[in-house]
Symmetry: C2
Subunit: 212 residues, 2 copies
Amino acid sequence: MEHKDIMLRLLKYKRMLLQFKSMGLSRIFSNNLGDALGISASLVRKDFAGFRIQGNRRGGYSVNSVLERLNSLLGDQGLHEAVIVGCGNLGKALINHDFTREGFRITACFDIAPPEAEIKRIPIYPMEILKNYVREHHITVGIIAVPFGAATQTRDIMEQAGLRGILNFAPLDLKSTPQCMVHNVNIGLEIENLFFLIHQQDKQRQQAEKDL
Amino acid sequence: MEHKDIMLRLLKYKRMLLQFKSMGLSRIFSNNLGDALGISASLVRKDFAGFRIQGNRRGGYSVNSVLERLNSLLGDQGLHEAVIVGCGNLGKALINHDFTREGFRITACFDIAPPEAEIKRIPIYPMEILKNYVREHHITVGIIAVPFGAATQTRDIMEQAGLRGILNFAPLDLKSTPQCMVHNVNIGLEIENLFFLIHQQDKQRQQAEKDL
DNA sequence: TAGATTGTTAATCGATTAACAATC
DNA sequence: TAGATTGTTAATCGATTAACAATC
């Protein structure tokens, strides 16, 4: 968990620093960054120290040099490329979305039965082509946007095709392997969780009223 | 963090137990559940004990009675209802998605300029109506599917409308308040994180090769 | 210099795991 | 009974925070 979390924080530092930079700031304190990200200044300094990002004991950190270091750490080789598997509602929505600001773009979509040849210049191919496409274009990351029932099989096909990372939107936890890392985003579970947490809050507040 | 995580686990227990039940199992061991969810048997037993879910020292847990207890804990008052704000690509995709299996349904969508009057029988209203709608229908949870620039303002409008929980898909972290809890799902960040983790893996493997 | 902030170490905190006695 | 599994306590682990000396 450590690794995954600290990595995410590095990305957040980068985004926040870009924002600070666009606002004209050239120096920043661990304090500011912590506040902006909702974490402690200690943690910012610890993270930075761990990745040999150095500051100045008087004037804080230089926005530019931190960004430089972060870019070299994050492997800032321009725009990344990813593919989508599953051209239903969610798949189409993702195709239509512009992720260039986020640092990557969707180059193709795959489906057992492509509903169209292309959407917004992005081609939709049958699944059989996936493996070749991944090889030829050196794709490493794919998104699963297929229904529940097809997800497990799709995952395995994608791993066999040589993909190294998968973001899964199907409503079940797919497992990672050493060859292929899977992160799961379960929208339904997140919503249900909110209902549950609110329910809990209400129960606690009612209890608190009783106690008076 | 504890609370959020253990709650999510309770939901996962429930889903997994429903699956076991549909497969005809009536009793289950902490062992089985742990394996299925990728956590330790100890943790399952600890979670259960914490919520007074009791098992039998010989025969494990009764699927039905655990489910009963979970349902009463999770406040299983039938199908929950949520609304969406933002009727772009993602908003439309979510409207079209059927979440009944996940325990809730979308009852309405809101947009500053509704592109259509309804989609799949789900009405799309102008933002001005949100507050009244939330009050009249006792809605507690909403989904943000608006662009980056509109997100912060939208969040505040939703809180003022009386929503208690928000799932945010806009690419920035919105903050929670005591009145309104926000969970952020940043798709772009998740994808970038995968690229980054793969990059790290490659660096480590290259290093390992060198060390030979 | 005095003041402020980093870099780093030690303390804290919480979650997970291991171990084992209780017991069905 | 013997065996197996829970329930619970203690140990571990890792991440975060607090504190403070170093230093710009």
